[in-house]
């Protein structure tokens, strides 16, 4: 039962490191998700903008981040953003430095990728709400700002939750890629543990189970939220909309 030892909590085993890695994985996903959602709206608006350059930018953004493998986006951003930031810092305050940590680089690239897909979720959800709602709000004298936040947005969520729920699951799994730039999240901790224990089956098997559990819990939670926001839209007796 030596394999149990290597999972134990404390100095003899990897239990506490794995737990810490799990924390970083969840932390990264939770920190990235709101950024990705806000970006999704912005990119959607860019794509329907009246200004051609902005519209083209929106389209190029979606095409690029949907075409490049996430790992490539991550590597380019990790090295390139550092070069840009170092150059900027050097110009503002020579002699000091600002490091782009793997966490921040991971957050940026995952937010870019997820929002490229998210902008399409936003488009579909806004279509489902319909233009009429906005026009009605405007005719009641609401400013566009108020119309969006008070009238449209509360209705958008109901249509966007399945789409965003899927993206959350993708995001959760994509955090494993950030191990490539040595962020100490779940997958990276497993590879380090394997380096000394030489037990790849045990550690990769274990973290596979952890990811499946996380995804299953997320899907459950999503179903609950969907039910909640659909209250009043579904006939209790039949379950139909």
């Amino acid at each position: 039962m030596t394999w149990l030892n290597s999972l134990s909590y404390g100095s003899g085993g990897w239990g506490d490191e794995l737990l810490h890695g799990l924390g970083v994985t969840l932390g990264l996903a939770i920190a990235t998700f709101p950024v990705a959602i806000v970006l999704s709206f912005l990119i959607h608006w860019a794509k329907v903008s009246h200004y051609t350059p902005i519209r083209l930018f929106g389209r190029a953004y979606t095409t690029v981040f949907k075409s490049l493998p996430e790992i490539l986006t991550l590597l380019i951003l990790y090295y390139q953003s550092q070069a840009i930031v170092s150059w900027l810092v050097e110009a503002v305050a020579p002699g000091s430095h600002l490091s782009i940590s793997p966490f921040v680089a991971g957050m940026m690239s995952l937010a870019f990728v997820i929002s490229a897909y998210g902008s399409e979720v936003v488009r579909a959800a806004l279509n489902a709400v319909g233009k009429g709602q906005f026009e009605a709000a405007a005719s009641l004298g609401l400013s566009p700002f108020n119309a969006f936040f008070k009238v449209i947005l509360p209705q958008v969520w109901r249509h966007a939750i399945p789409g965003f729920g899927n993206l959350w699951v993708i995001l959760l799994k994509d955090t494993s890629l950030v191990s490539v730039i040595t962020l100490f999240e779940l997958t990276h901790v497993a590879t380090i543990a394997i380096n000394t224990t030489r037990q790849p089956f045990l550690f990769f098997g274990l973290i596979s189970v952890i990811y499946v559990v996380l995804v299953t819990l997320s899907t459950r939670a999503q179903k609950q939220v969907e039910k909640r926001v659909s209250r009043g839209f579904i006939r209790e007796e039949t379950g139909h909309v």
Binding site: S11, L75, Y79, A83, S96, F103, N195, P200
Partner: protein
Amino acid sequence: MKSLFRISALSVAMSLSGLASATAETLRVGTEGAYAPFNSVSQDGAIEGFDVDIGNAICAVMEVECEWSVHDWGGIIPALNANKFDFMVASMAITPARQKAVIFTDPYYYNAMRFVKLKDVELDDAKPETLKGLTIGAQQGAVSAKVLDDWFADSDIKLFPKLGEALMDLESGRIDLVLASQFAIGDWMNDGVDCCEFVGESFLMDGTVGAGIAFRKDDAELQARVNKALKTIMDNGTYDEIRKKYFEFDIMSKPGYVSELFNQ
């Protein structure tokens, strides 16, 4: 849930802490962290090994704080050049190709490479002729990969992101040999591995002058300071104390070059 937010907030905060002023001098040192016994990450997340002890001894002489971080081997020179850390102590062999991208100190040891083979594979010597048709593993971007490329064209060469992965594949029998640092392989074999044994002599790649500490090209001033500190620890016995902790033998003796070995 709250504590999770705290973790992520903490990680973001940590990333911004790199904004240090130049007065209280802290130097950031980079290494790979997957190359025992020179540099590796322990169970409690500490970065340790011969390189780390040497680096810390140098920092102590220079009277500066040193902050260690680990980086993927394939991208470690770009990470140095992108200013992710100030200098690198990672057992990196000094080669002309690398000298085009970074500058080095004098060598702090000679990291000779040697073949390790499966016991099942019958071989008396490791030469290009005897290894014909066999599968040899090495780490991507390492000098051993370059040697395989230059000298072992008739063998099947397999490159791995990490040395540990090549050794795992050797143990499972997917590959017949691995070419890597004899010290790193020795450390692995001392760890209760009985599949494998050394074969042939150890050697250096032509043009390499041992392992050096690397800096950005525009950082010659830091290079000079570290080089001086390195000389100090070699002269005052600190270096030998650290060396004895890891190796029972001299690692400053210079082995022969690969061309002397295979060109007879």
